[in-house]
């Protein structure tokens, strides 16, 4: 592995190259209609989710087999989460939250396959998801409560002189929500993949004697699998929290 020219150049690691967006077919320039690898992996994610849910619920037997059991487990998990965090009147919004959860979790886990691509590691993708949540939650709040939705920023339990200060802070924290919501997911995915790539480059340079980097890669890979699930969970539960704020703006 470590030939003389490479040794002279020193250790060259390009951990961010895996996030390059390029057209799948041909080497042409990236234009708005070109079918990029992001689009391809988002389509694969979508097909994976559809196959998973449709095949899992095909038989609809009273005694579920293993596949159906997994699908029912995920369904019940997300439904309970919506009901516990956002309340019973948030259940009409359950289909969207389930969709977002399945998309994020499939995209995260499929991105862990070597040589694949993670759409959720791009802020453009996660910002679209987060902005959808942000805008629709704001609209839902104003539709349900009218101007009473602004009571979210006017904390009536605080002492009166403190309320304007708190209102400024609340407004700021409200508008920083889509930023933190999107960057949390993208940042976690990007950092994990870059870390795996760095350890992989160590292993590549050391050649056959690379026991330590290989053990490290395995450990980091297990951690990343955990992070993939936890970040999908966190993304969904924060959606529920924001939805709760829109449905019940009084603290």
């Amino acid at each position: 592995m470590a030939t003389e020219t490479e040794a002279q150049k020193g250790l060259e690691i390009h951990p961010m190259d895996q996030f390059l967006i390029k057209p799948v077919l041909g080497d042409g320039p990236l234009v708005w209609y070109s079918f990029s690898n992001t689009a391809m992996w988002m389509a694969i994610t979508l097909v994976g989710v559809i196959i998973f849910l449709v095949v899992g619920t095909r038989k609809k037997s009273y005694v579920p087999d293993r596949f159906q059991m997994v699908v029912e487990l995920i369904y019940g998990f997300v439904r309970n989460m919506v009901q516990d965090v956002a309340g019973r009147d948030a259940l009409p919004f359950f289909p969207y939250i389930m969709t977002a959860f399945m998309f994020v979790i499939f995209s995260n886990v499929l991105g862990l396959i070597p040589m694949s691509f993670t759409p959720t590691s791009h802020i453009a993708v996660t910002a679209t998801l987060a902005l959808t949540v942000f805008i629709s939650v704001t609209v839902i709040g104003f539709v349900k409560h009218g101007l009473g939705f602004l009571g979210l920023f006017w904390i009536s339990s605080a002492p009166l002189p403190l309320r304007p200060v708190l209102a400024v802070i609340e407004v700021m924290s409200y508008f920083v929500r889509p930023i933190s919501h999107s960057i949390r997911l993208a940042g976690n995915m990007m950092a994990g993949h870059a870390m795996i790539k760095v350890f992989a480059a160590f292993a590549g340079v050391m050649g056959l004697g690379a026991f330590v980097p290989i053990i490290a890669i395995s450990a980091v890979y297990g951690l990343e699998l955990l992070v993939a699930f936890i970040q999908a969970y966190v993304f969904t539960i924060l959606t529920c929290v924001y939805l709760k704020d829109a449905l019940h703006p009084q603290h």
Binding site: S180, I183, N188, V234, L238, V241
Partner: protein, 78 residues
């Protein structure tokens, strides 16, 4: 070594921005440790508060991710 002063400053800044992630680590550890302490005192209430644990971890972690983002911007977007 080649390179200019701007790149050097940006890379030093990126390294300094990464210290912010240590603060996030402290915050996440604080949340998880306090959750465990509370859960060991009252194990029957622990199950219902797992969602709060993850929300707290997510909020604490967000600011560490912000500093990571600043580092990335300095390295790749400047």
């Amino acid at each position: 070594m080649e390179g200019d002063l701007n790149t050097m400053g940006a890379l030093i800044g990126a390294g300094l921005a990464c210290t912010g992630m240590g603060g996030a680590a402290i915050g996440v550890g604080h949340v998880a440790g306090n959750y465990l302490a509370g859960a060991l005192r009252n194990p029957s209430a622990a199950q219902s508060q797992t969602a709060m644990l993850f929300i707290g971890i997510a909020f604490a972690e967000a600011f560490g991710i912000f500093s990571f983002l600043v580092a990335l911007l300095l390295m790749f977007a400047l």
